[in-house]
């Protein structure tokens, strides 16, 4: 129905080549074309953060990014992060600190948290509560009231990673 583009990018460490419609969002590509459903659709307008992924290290809302713009990039989703020591540590911290209720926003929060910790991992110490709050302000959660999410992120030992 619309023009397609052939793109090549790294997805969770694996070289990936795919033909996508020019208008397809990265979120749709991940969820529908590639079956990576850990990235969630929450609003489709970049307001809720449930679809947060990392592209060349930065976090962004995959619903607002054209799939075609993944070409040549390094893309990480929750599935990729979960297989890393940081992902493992975040999973444990979110679990142990009660940061998960319905869990729908959780993958986005975990992605955001990985970025936050990484920024602070290079000799800048651990993010404080105010920095954590600001770091996750683009991620909406309706269940937890954020408190335990903040505690969970604060509990991850970045120096160990």
């Amino acid at each position: 129905m619309s023009a397609t583009v052939e793109i090549a990018f790294t997805l969770n460490g694996v070289a990936t080549q795919i033909q996508v419609p020019a208008t397809l969002s990265t979120l749709e590509m991940l969820r529908v074309r590639l079956g990576l459903t850990g990235t969630k659709y929450g609003c489709g307008e970049g307001e809720c953060g449930a679809c947060t992924i990392r592209v060349d290290g930065l976090t962004l809302n995959s619903c607002l990014m054209f799939a075609a713009d993944c070409d040549g990039r390094d893309v990480t989703t929750i599935e990729g992060l979960a297989a890393t020591p940081t992902g493992e540590a975040l999973k444990e911290a979110f679990t142990a600190n009660g940061a998960v209720q319905c869990g729908f926003c959780t993958p986005g929060l975990v992605m955001q948290a990985s970025h936050l910790l990484e920024r602070h991992g290079h000799g800048h110490g651990h993010p404080g509560p105010e920095e954590i709050k600001r770091g996750i302000e683009g991620n909406l959660c309706r269940c937890t009231g954020y408190s335990k999410v903040i505690e969970a992120i604060a509990a991850v030992d970045v120096s160990a990673k």
Partner: protein, 803 residues
């Protein structure tokens, strides 16, 4: 202090001892899956051969449908079915009053109304097909205000009987015409309010206005429907009440309920939104029937805002009085509920509202009347708190106003009228366990409420731009189920395998609140097993025993007692077998750490899994498998709304502190000191999470959230303009648990799910008054509304209804 340094006070007397799991911080069983993106919600599930459903909604607020032309849509390649009401003449109305046809036949009453639906090979094709459907409307006059709708000559929303004709030509009136747009009425009375008023030293009367908010579950709504070759229906559904819906869907389709199976995938938030059937569910079933293919429909976020229920908006008039010594004398309440175009659970929130008016505090005389009125506005469903946020908002404003009127300390005034254990209220509620006064004292002491209230109000005339204030509010809510349906019960099947691993099969639905973890915990505590030794099955009506659903803060209490009952039966069976084998009386034995132990000295006598295997593989082969059905000892209300509807009641007091910027109207919620009578803390991690999340949801209701509805049209169906609270805005939270050890509750526990959201708005209103001397009567307290109120420009609330 910030949110990370919160303190957890415990007023309870039950120290967690030894190796008990009760009161511990138990991580949620499903958290690792969720935190690694592996959990499959409805949107993540795809069935081979599935088609995609889409719904065409009305472009009009109120109109007659003259004609619908679907020819072009049907001709689009990839379209498998296009349906309108004409294609399902046998469709039955849904909802609490059965006044709502899933597909509208001759009339639309709201812009959310479903006019046609498409099933196609892809969402894109379905979307394209919708654009090809032509609907010819004849606009009708709009009535978008409940008071206007009551006036003589107002447009009637349901002016005619809803007649249903069966496939064999039999006609039946399923919803009678509603003259005057009255959808539902409630009247409750205790004592004599006229006498009460005559005995009063102070009387206050005010009008309050409670606004539209909506659930905003992070996971949008969706359903997958398919029929098998024998015409049995399988639904993947987000429902909170699978067994009730099984029956309703069967009735709608004219089939045996036994032929409806509902599987609930993990649910991306509920909060009451999934208690009713909404038109999209039957419509997807119609599409599946028409195409003989599985059909999946998932809302967009915009659709979620437009076509989901809201919290019940209420206009409320309250008149209250007290004696000079502070004794409450009477309360007279009238409310007008804007019912919207159709009737869902929102209309029935008076069941809960009247309990707060009649029984939160001791009041001998109370009149309560509600009119629920049809309009062309969105209709309301059930939403965490179920009318209690609205009722508490009014009651607690008057508790402050009356205390001030007679010159009494606001805490002392509340303590004087607060309920005690053992009380039976005029509405017939039995408060067997009641930690209300402990809640009041604890929250007040830990927040410095009394001193701060005096100090802040002494600064009213200082002329400061930034002011501080404290406010208090308390709540009463059902905490031991609610006997609304025929049964308020829950069933459990417990089976132990050869390796002493348990499968707990429960009717109770998990919607993120943590029920599967707390149920597993109760069972493990009883059988002396670690949490890892239990799997929970809770999401398939073909497997799980009956349960009335997840609502009314009932799951821990009702499903907990059910699980506990099954565990106790298993324990009896295991200990009897062990006693025979070990030649000791069963009373001398216990289960701990996966072993049968001697009760006296804790000595391990035999490994549990070995004992189980020896039972199973013996001549008299036997499995350890038990069932238990628990029905709480509560009662249906009588026709006058009197009766002990819950087996236990929960209490809470919250004190909030705010900062008000008088130049911008911005109100910041600085801290919340909460004291909750929860019976007993079972999973400390889970219950803290429930309270924190509820408080922040209450904060949104008070300060940031509003579904803007103008002349029937929702103006802000997105997260950019509908403001949820974000992380930087949350208050510091100090949470105390009052452990009143309810005699009927599982391990003494009572329900807590709804409680934390109920008090916040009421307390914030009192705090803004304490900061500024100005009282706000209409929610929400957005900067614009607060600024107007502080500068004498609040829109006056008018009342022109006779109820």
């Amino acid at each position: 202090m910030d949110a990370l340094q919160k303190t957890k006070a415990e007023a309870g007397t039950k120290p967690a001892s030894g190796d008990t799991l009760i009161g511990k911080r138990i991580p949620k069983k499903d958290a690792p899956e969720k935190a690694s993106g592996r959990t499959r919600y409805i949107d993540d599930i795809n069935v081979p051969g599935q088609l995609y459903g889409k719904i065409l909604r009305s472009t009009q607020v109120h109109a007659r449908i003259r004609a619908i032309d679907t020819d072009a849509a049907r001709a689009l390649p990839g379209v498998h079915a296009v349906i309108t009401a004409a294609d399902v003449p046998w469709q039955r109305p849904i909802g609490v009053s059965k006044d709502h046809l899933p597909l509208k036949s001759d009339r639309v009453r709201s812009p959310r109304d479903e006019v046609a639906a498409v099933a196609a090979d892809s969402e894109e094709i379905a979307e394209a097909a919708l654009k090809l459907i032509r609907v010819d409307y004849e606009p009708l006059p709009i009535v978008a205000d409940a008071q206007e709708a009551l006036k003589p000559g107002a447009p009637l929303l349901h002016g005619e009987d809803l007649v249903w004709t069966s496939p064999d030509g039999r006609s039946e009136v399923l919803h009678k015409a509603s003259p005057g747009n009255v959808a539902m009425t409630f009247t409750y009375a205790q004592g004599d309010v006229v006498r009460g008023e005559a005995e009063s030293a102070a009387v206050v009367e005010d009008i309050f206005q409670l606004h539209y908010v909506t659930h905003c579950c992070m996971g949008v709504s969706g359903v997958i429907a398919e029929f098998d070759a024998s015409d049995n229906l399988l639904l993947h559904s987000n429902t909170q009440v699978p067994f009730l819906h099984k029956r309703e869907f069967a009735e709608m389709l004219g089939i045996d309920p036994g032929r409806v199976r509902i599987i609930q995938p993990p649910i991306g938030g509920g909060f009451g939104s999934k208690l009713d059937i909404y038109p999209f569910e039957p419509i997807v079933i119609f599409l599946a029937r028409a195409t003989r293919r599985p059909v999946k429909l998932v809302y967009t976020r915009e659709e979620e805002f437009l076509a989901s229920p809201t919290r019940q908006p209420v206009l409320l008039k309250l008149r209250s009085g007290c004696r000079q010594d502070g004794t409450l004398t009477f309360r007279a309440v009238e409310t007008v509920h804007d019912n919207g175009a159709y009737t869902s659970w929102g209309a029935t929130t008076p069941f809960v509202m009247m309990q707060t008016f009649s029984s939160l505090y001791r009041v001998p005389n109370c009149d309560y009347r509600t009119l629920a009125v049809y309009t062309n506005n969105p209709y309301s469903g059930s939403f965490r708190g179920y009318g209690n946020l609205q009722a508490t908002f009014a009651v607690e404003a008057h508790m402050d106003k009356l205390a001030d009127a007679i010159g009494m300390d606001a805490l002392e005034f509340r303590l004087k009228n607060a309920q005690d254990p053992g009380e039976v209220t005029p509405q017939g509620m039995h408060f067997n366990s009641c930690g209300f006064k402990d809640c009041l004292r604890t929250a007040a002491e830990r927040s410095g409420y009394q001193q701060k209230r005096l100090a802040y109000r002494s600064k009213w005339n200082d002329g400061a731009v930034i002011r501080r204030g404290v406010g208090m509010a308390s709540m009463l809510h059902v905490g031991g189920g609610a006997k609304i349906y025929q049964s308020d019960g829950c069933g459990t099947i417990l089976k132990m395998d050869d390796f002493a691993h348990l499968t707990l099969i429960t009717g109770a639905s998990e919607i993120g609140q943590g029920s599967e973890t707390v149920l597993a915990q109760l069972v493990c505590e009883e059988l002396g097993l670690p949490l890892a030794a239990v799997s929970v099955v809770n999401s398939d009506t073909d497997i799980t025993p009956w349960d009335v659903g997840v609502h009314a803060s009932r799951t821990t209490f009702v499903a907990g007692n059910s699980a506990l009952g099954a565990a106790r039966k298993a324990k009896t069976k295991i200990l009897a077998a062990a006693a025979a084998k070990l030649e000791q009386p069963p009373e001398a034995l216990d289960l701990r750490g996966g072993f049968v132990i001697a009760k006296a000295d804790g000595k391990r006598l035999i490994e549990l899994s070995r004992l189980i295997r020896s039972l199973h593989f013996s001549d008299k082969a036997e499995l350890v498998m038990t069932t238990h059905y628990y029905e709480p000892p509560s009662h249906h209300q009588d026709k006058e709304f009197k009766g002990d509807v819950s087996a236990a009641y929960s209490w809470a007091t919250q004190v909030v502190e705010v900062e008000v910027d008088t130049q911008t109207g911005i109100v910041r919620l600085l801290n919340v000191t909460a004291a909750h009578d929860v019976g007993r803390v079972l999973n400390r991690l889970g219950i803290e999470g429930q309270i924190e999340g509820g408080v922040v949801m209450g904060q949104g209701y008070a300060l940031t959230e509003e579904l803007l509805v103008e002349n029937g049209v929702v103006r802000n169906p997105n997260f950019r303009d509908y403001k949820l609270v974000t992380a930087p805005e949350i208050p510091e939270m100090d949470i105390s648990f009052i452990e009143s050890m309810d005699g009927e509750g599982p391990q003494g526990a009572k329900g807590v799910g709804e409680a934390p959201a109920i008090c916040v708005a009421a307390a914030v209103a009192n705090a803004i008054h304490n900061a500024t001397g100005v009282r706000l009567y209409a929610l929400p307290f957005t900067p614009e509304n607060v600024y107007r109120a502080l500068h004498g420009q609040a829109k006056p609330l008018t009342w022109n209804v006779a109820i």
